[in-house]
Amino acid sequence: MVPIQYYLLLSASVFCIGLFGVLTRNNALLFLMSVELMLTGANINLVAFSAQTGTLTGQVFSLFVIALAAAEVAIGVGIVLALVRNFEGVDVTRATTMRW
């Protein structure tokens, strides 16, 4: 069987690619995509450990994650629309009202 380290490295790299996107992009839509990548990384991790432990919990959880991701996208798009309306664009760095 494939050792779990490989899966973990895969999941870590997918997660970090998503994170990289979040950190370097200003576009809210790209944010959403990047977040999807991060969730995928987490899902890989869950499934990998499901196989490692021989139980189904991880797989069930990844299902939940997928479902929640859908909800997240829905809200995310809503926020993006609000951004567009209030800050004339999808640039997240413009919305800085929640600061000191």
């Binding site: 380290q5 200003n26 490692q52 479902a67 909800a71 997240e72 629309l81």
Partner: protein
Amino acid sequence: MNRPRLKLGSHLVSGLAAVALFVVLAAVFLTAPFGDPAGLVAEGSVTAAIGYALIDRTGLAAFETEGFLVALLVVGVVLDAALDGALLLAKSESGGRIVTALRTGTGDDSRTDGGDRETGRSDGGGE
């Protein structure tokens, strides 16, 4: 020509944090002892077992699992709420009160934290 172009620049610096995280994670994963994977060795359908697990019929599942009925219901409610919320946020500006609440810099009564009116738009700080 209109094709993707790699945009390099100082905005990538913060991405180094992600790289660093990957390095650390990799270092941890590669050095950690996990033992041999158990694998899903039993006979039967994994998908069916997941289905049973979701509705708490763990006795019928071919694989060892726990019940997730409550989680399923909670997630269901959350999803519903999220969709409603998304709809509310996305509604046109004509009637949505929440949208108005989020708006800053245009309304007179909308500011509650004492922030400076002029910096609401222009002083992004991140660019």
